[in-house]
Every structure is written in structure tokens, then in C-alpha cells.
Amino acid sequence: MALLDVKNLQVEYLTARGPVKAVDGISFNINPGEVVGLAGESGSGKSTAAHAILRILRSPAIITGGQALFGERDILSMSDEELEQFRWQNIAIVFQSAMNSLNPVMRIRDQLLDVMQQKGFSKSQALHRARNLFNLVGIEASRLDSYPHELSGGMRQRTVIAISLALSPDMLIMDEPTTALDVVVQKDILEQIAVLREKLGFSILFITHDLSLLVEFSTRILIMYAGQIVEQAPAYELFKNPLHPYTVGLMNSFPSISGDKHRLTGIAGSPPDMIAPPSGCRFHPRCPKAMPVCSQKTPVMKTVSEDHTVACHLY
């Protein structure tokens, strides 16, 4: 049974120019121990969807429909008290900018202890656990006494990961956790996360725009475009056999360091204005294989092979 089952999730931003359907009816699930990658460009709604699952959206965003089942419970209909128990213990989140998610005037140690003492740890238990967590993410325990500005960007991001793991959650949502970091540090941290996941057994919803990174890191990939999921498949299957023209375009947007050098074209045009998204398939104005039907009818998700689904009129 799936750990998290998202059904027809819808989120709108209420703007002066009218409502924007940032997430327009997406459905997916995450099984225990799985790493699911959610890939898309900026504005595709991937972060909004993740924030909606944790109910941490801020006005003017509102959830207008759908369900997010965690076991038997629907996160979207939990009361505030239930949410307080649920967040961090069941699902924790790691944000993109570690600089902004740590309190600059508190020692790292106190920020870690704060979380655990809220949930009934004694001070000595919490401190013991804090040291263990720092060992896990590869920082010396003596660094617990530092302030955030005394740590490098990579160390801060490791700290945030340690804090997210403080209450042993079943699932981590990682929202572009390494985008602000250098490639070498990024690789280090991703390897560390992979090791931790094997050791502790949590699931990950990993959000990024970097598809080449996801192919390496995740077990299954969801491709999001303009608020909708357009394709989903196991990572390697998606890489070997991308079906949706948008996925193919994304694959053609990353130069490689191996193999022959060939010309890459990316995708023509720019992402759509979400206030008035294109009719039919939202990708049709940029699609090299667009047909007359594409601007008239919205394609539905079709299963093309086991585990591989795509929403495109070509299939």
C-alpha cells in the first residue's frame, strides 16, 4: 500500500488578474522507501504541489480540491492539532535555501533541540540525538555550537537535513535541496542522502528542474508541465524511452560530458502564461509534433506499458 496517495490535487493562486490554476488535478503515489522525482520548469507547479501536501501554502494560494491520503488519513482535511502532530513526525520538508530556513541568531544546537523538546524529548536525550544526527549527515558534532553564518552553504544544507530527520519521519519532501550549491557539494550531499535513506528507510519526494540529476538519484520520475503531470515512469525507463514531446525536449536540454557531441535544441518558445493557459494540451504551442486535435482536446493519462503513463494524443 502506498505511503502517500495524492488524488486530483488542485491549487489556485488568487491574483488581481484572476485565479491561476497552479496545480491542476495531479494524482500520484509514493511507496515506502521510494525516491520519487518531480521534475518541471519554474512555474510548472511542482513546489506548490509539494507545499500543498504539507499544508504550508500561504495566501493567496488555496487548495481547491483533491485528496492527499497518508495511510487512512487525508492530510487536506486534518485539523490544526492533527497537522501539528503530523508534520515533521510523518512528513518533513527540506527547502531550497538553507540560508533562509535557519534562524541566524540561534545556535544550531538550540534549533535542533527546539524541535525535539517540543515532541517530548528530555534535554539530554535530545542532545544525544542531535550529536548522532550530525554524525549521520557528516558534520562534526562540535559544530552544533556554531551559528548558521559560521557554516558554509553545504554545511548549512546538511544541518537542515539533520533537523528534518530529527523526528524520524516516514517521508522527506526535498524542494530543490541542492540547487544553490556547487556541483561537488551537491554530489556529496546527494550521496549522503542516498546512504541515509538506505539506513533509515524513509521515502523521498525530490523536486528539481534538473532531469539528469533525477535519472541518477530517483527510482521513479513524474514530469510536470503547466500544473499537470504529463508523464510518469521508472527513472531508467523514462531516460531510455521518453514519450511525451515535453519530456523529450527536456532530455534534449542537457548537454552531456560523455559520448559524441551533438547539437541540442532544447524546447522552442517559453512556458505558458498560467492565467490563460493554452487550450487542449497545454504544451501544444511549443510542441514539434502538435496535431489539430491537440489544441482542442485535453489528453488524458494513458498507460502505455507497465508503470509508464503519458498524457499525449500521440499515444
Binding site: 520548469e41 556547487d182 561537488v184 541518477e216 548537454p255 557531441k261 532544447g266 512556458p271
Partner: protein, 335 residues
Amino acid sequence: MTFLNSDSSPILSVHNLTKRFPVGSVFMTHHVHAVEDVSFSVNRRQVIALVGESGSGKTTTIRMIARLIPVTKGGIKFKSVDILKAEPHQASLNYRRMVQMIFQDPFASLNSVHNIEHHLARPLLIHKKMVDHDELEHRVLSLLELVELKPAQDIARRYPHQLSGGQRQRVAIARALAVDPELILADEPISMLDVSIRMGILNLIEKLKEELGIAFVYITHDLASARYIGDLIMVMHAGHMVEGGGSEEIIGGALHPYTQLLLSAVPDPHSGLRTRKDLQARGEVPSLIDPPPGCPFAARCPKVMDVCRQVMPGQSYVSQEHWVRCHLYGEGTSV
């Protein structure tokens, strides 16, 4: 004696370029060694990719070349003229015309209160003294067409907020092209853009290089895009240039342990799924404030030797183009 045609004589060459920023108080001055002894040259119709992590000194290097910040030590030769001697205090208008920059953030590099036509007409007024209205308009439209912004008439009247990130970056490129530059310094021009439109910008740079013969210094932290667009790749670490050469040679036969570390960190699905543990170099870029002698990579290097902590290695050539600064590869000649 061989005659060099104009395409193969360097348009720009820098030698021993060094930048130190003073930090601290009046009583205790330290120096951040941002760029140390950087030397390279760029030919017409050539793209040099300058690769390194943040803090490696890439941006400081091109800011010195653009004369936006003063040079601590070293020389810059542009078209065989030592410009730090010829124009010691401030770059001439002519130099600034010939050497143009494209910045990372197209949301910050355009003025939000002016339309696109204004952005493109201004350099024409200042540098080219073009005052005839029809001529100006004609040139603005042809610039927009050159960077593939269509319909040009419509784009010219728009304001920056009405354009996407990729379109804005194209406007920034058109603005640099307005004054017929010979060298364009591009500081991570695609890293803030959506992934699907990045290749379009790189292909545009390639086209400008081929068709107009412009030389580019392309700064990036991404070796894959450096390989895609760069004729040569230069790798920087902690202010030093550690390896340089033809891009295929660097990607296929990297010698410096730092370059190898960078290569191993690039996510690359094309080479199959790997979990590689052979390279154990760890850690981050060292502090650049009054650094100890020796190679700055020594603390992170898996192949470190005693000599590495004492002397900065000189440059050793392993082929005609490919050189490396590492004690593993011969004595080298300190430059």
C-alpha cells in the same frame, strides 16, 4: 616564420592577472587572494569556457578584463596593446565598446522603466553617435532579429516585465551586440534560465561566434555546458587556473585531481547509472584569506604529496594545447 591569419592571433591575452581584496581593520589587514597568476588568451571566433565552483575567481577575472575593478598585478593585452599601460586609470570608451559583458541575471540587468527599444538604442547613441531616427529604428529591429526575437516590431515596444527570462537574456545579448564588440564576456548567462530554453541561448552564442567572428569568455560551473560551447576549457580553483586545453581533451583526459573531481560530480545519465566511490576528494573551497603556500587543492586532494603543501606547481604542457598545474605531472615551469 609563419604568418598568422587574423583568426588565430589572440584578440585578448592576460598574463599573471592577480586580484587581492583587502579585508580587516587598519591595524590588521589581510588579503583575500581572489585571483592569482591567471594567464590565458582568446582568439577571434573562439569560445573559452572558464569553469569552477563559486569563489574560484571566475567572475573576478572577467571583471578585471572588463575593467570594472582595478587589477592588483599582471597585464591585459587587447589586440596586442597593453591596455593597463595605455589606459591606466580608466578604460576608454572605445575599449568598453569592444569588450562587452552579459550578466547572469536578466531580471536585474535590464531597466524596468524603459522599453526594449530604449535599451538597444542607448548604446547606439553613446558609442556610435547614431542620431538619425530611422537609422536607429532600423538597427534596433535588425538586432532583435539577429538574436531571434520575433516579431521584432512588437518586442521593441515591450517592457522587460512583459518578456520571459530567455527573451530578456536575448535582449541583453542584443544590447551587447549593438556596438559591434569583438569580445563578449558572458558570466553564467544561462544559469538563471529555465532548463528548456538554455540550449537556445548557447546555440545563439555559437551562431554569433561563427557568423560574426566574436570571441567569447564563457563562465560556468557546469562542465557539460562548457564542453558543449567551449573550444577550450580552463578550470579554476581557489583563484588559480589549474588546467586548460581543448574541451574534448579536458573532458576525456582530465589530469588535475580537481578537474577529475568536478567531472565526477556532474550528473550524467548518458553514461549509465553509476554510484562511483573511486574519487574520495571531499570538502569545500578553502578560505582565500592569506592562504598558506603550496597548492590550494592540497587539503582536499586524494593524491596529495609533501611537496604540494610547500610549493605551488608550475604549468606543465602535456600536449600542444593541454596543460596542467599539478606536481603529479613533472616539474613544470612556474609562470
